[in-house]
Symmetry: C2
Subunit: 352 residues, 2 copies
């Protein structure tokens, strides 16, 4: 899934080039490239499908020149994750009705690749032999309020850290998040899912029948010159709904593999700060020409040859792009979505 | 005098285009242009000489297309104010040995033009009829630590607010500045001087004889193609010394016109902040696309179409130029000189 706009990462992440297409960690590879490489260790590269917005097709082909063009599925508009998954399902069904599927966002961080590959293979084993839905739950290391949590129940008969899901929860406030973490019963919802095709197709039929019907109305259009027009019509008619809300919260037999592989959704500047190496002042400096004085616990990012001299900040985010400068307290970063909106209204959509 | 580099105004003021050549107040006119216009109300424009560094000749002619080219005196190197004044004196002497002279920096702010013109004319009356040196002292409105102060003695027989100078003082600390202001005996040193040519030539002969000799060694070179080469040699041999240190502190018969015409040397971001209109949050926003949230007592300047979103700052300076971003506490702005130096060492002289 590579269609998000990463607005909490503004102004680095922009609607014309969102987070997944950026090297946010300064590793030399974009998050999309990193995600692709992770899955290339799990399945043949020709089995990797990327579902994204039509606007990003060129970016994807540029960043992943090795990918088969027909494996880039282009959404004509944003309809959240359920239609995205339904589209991929329909395409996969034509290739292999017995496919086992991993669904993953393309803009997350995974530090321990080896553990990740092991866990995914474990999960694939599990779902290939059952009609269960499997999610990945991450052992929480702090009472993060930016994530949803999964409450787990008793262990599945299959063992291996796989447990039944009791509830999915929304992002909690700090007090609740603390209780969650202390209880040991709650895991971060990583937004990664595993299922076999039959299981997820059935779940769509049960819980999102209109979406299921729309995508299966004219399966002969797939892989022909008519596909894009069909998809355009399908998306126009399709509700805007997430897989969590549309399927997960209703489905029976949802399981969770509780694990830990150095995961972050890198959803915010704060999480990028947490996941980056810090210098002696606890600052994260991303840029070639940054100097700080009397500054701590701050992330500064500047582009190219631009010099940034930062004095007297404690706990801030400073992001200097070509056309936007953002200075914001780390603790107030949830306001960034509002900033983007205000800037868009005042100065134009190009700043989104 | 238009040869300074305004380093305390970095990164807006740069050695290739210092403060006097910038529209720091956003009025549509640079400080040099404003200064020129002020004096054009006092004397014929052809009597206005501009002494600056050779590097700025093109900038001056561009900003003041009406000026006579021969009225732009070009210093080949920085030697502080005494040589600058000596050079002008030598040139003026050839035109009019009885000239009355006003010496003024080109990068100061004067809000009340009418009062300024009146005061300068009053001062010119005074010095045209005496062999006295006259400085302009500004009634202090706050215990500013960024200015030198003039302690005044008894009133001059000529009256009109003109008094004898007791001492020139360096920039005081805050406690001393408070005592100065409360005493009523101390005035801000504006750095503006009035004298007739004979008086200042004599003062140079008395207190800076080597400078006087250097500039008068070969007066036949002036206004010929040999002038620049002669000046080059003269400056090379000349000490680096200010008029205050070289002449004012030694001269007898130094008087001060104590007045007030909305003056600021605009020497620092803090003084620009003080002298600018503030919005309801007490912020000074210089730029077309600045939005602030939870921000007070802060000055933000951004260039062109660049957007700046500033959240959670109290009492800061934020300056975003094409190649440098500066964020600094207003109270710590004296560190800016150090920043410039560090940036220059690390990233090159082009950032000075």
């Amino acid at each position: 899934m590579a269609g998000g706009i990463g607005s909490r990462f503004w102004p680095m992440s922009r609607s014309h080039k969102p987070k997944q297409f950026l090297d946010v960690l300064g590793t030399g590879k974009t998050l999309l490239q990193q995600t692709y490489e992770r899955f290339a260790k799990i399945c043949p590269p020709e089995n990797i499908l990327i579902v994204s917005n039509l606007d990003y097709r060129a970016l994807i082909l540029e960043q992943l020149p090795q990918i088969l063009e027909q494996n880039v599925l282009c959404e004509p508009m944003r309809r959240n994750t359920a239609p995205c998954i339904a589209y991929a399902n329909a395409k996969i069904a034509l290739q292999n009705p017995n496919a086992n599927i991993v669904v993953a966002p393309s803009d997350h961080l995974v530090l321990d690749q080896e553990k990740f590959v092991k866990d995914i293979n474990l999960g694939l084993d599990f779902i290939s032999n059952s009609d269960a839905i499997l999610t990945l739950g991450i052992t929480p290391s702090r009472p993060e309020t930016g994530y949803g949590y999964i409450q787990v129940g008793k262990e599945s008969p299959v063992g291996n850290g796989i447990r039944l899901v009791k509830t999915f929860t929304e992002k909690p406030n700090l007090d609740i998040a603390k209780v969650f973490v202390e209880s040991g019963e709650f895991f971060w919802n990583s937004g990664m899912f595993l299922w076999n095709l039959q299981t997820i197709q059935n779940a769509f039929k049960d819980y999102l029948p209109e979406v299921s019907e729309l995508f299966n109305k004219n399966t002969s259009a797939y892989n022909t010159p008519q596909e894009q027009a069909f998809i355009e019509a399908t998306y126009s008619a399709c509700p805007n709904i997430s897989i969590d809300y549309g399927v997960m919260e209703h489905a029976k037999n949802v399981n969770v593999l509780c694990t830990e592989f150095g995961w972050s959704d890198l959803g915010t500047w704060g999480s990028l700060y947490e996941n980056s190496d810090k210098n002696d002042d606890n600052n994260v400096l991303q840029g070639q020409r940054i100097i700080t004085y009397d500054t701590q616990n701050t992330i500064v990012r500047s582009e190219g040859n631009k010099v940034a001299v930062v004095q007297g900040l404690e706990g801030y985010i400073v992001v200097d792009t070509n056309d936007v400068l953002l200075i914001c307290k780390k603790d107030d970063e949830q306001q960034i979505k509002q900033f983007v909106n205000d800037v868009k209204i005042k100065f134009g959509a190009s700043f989104e």
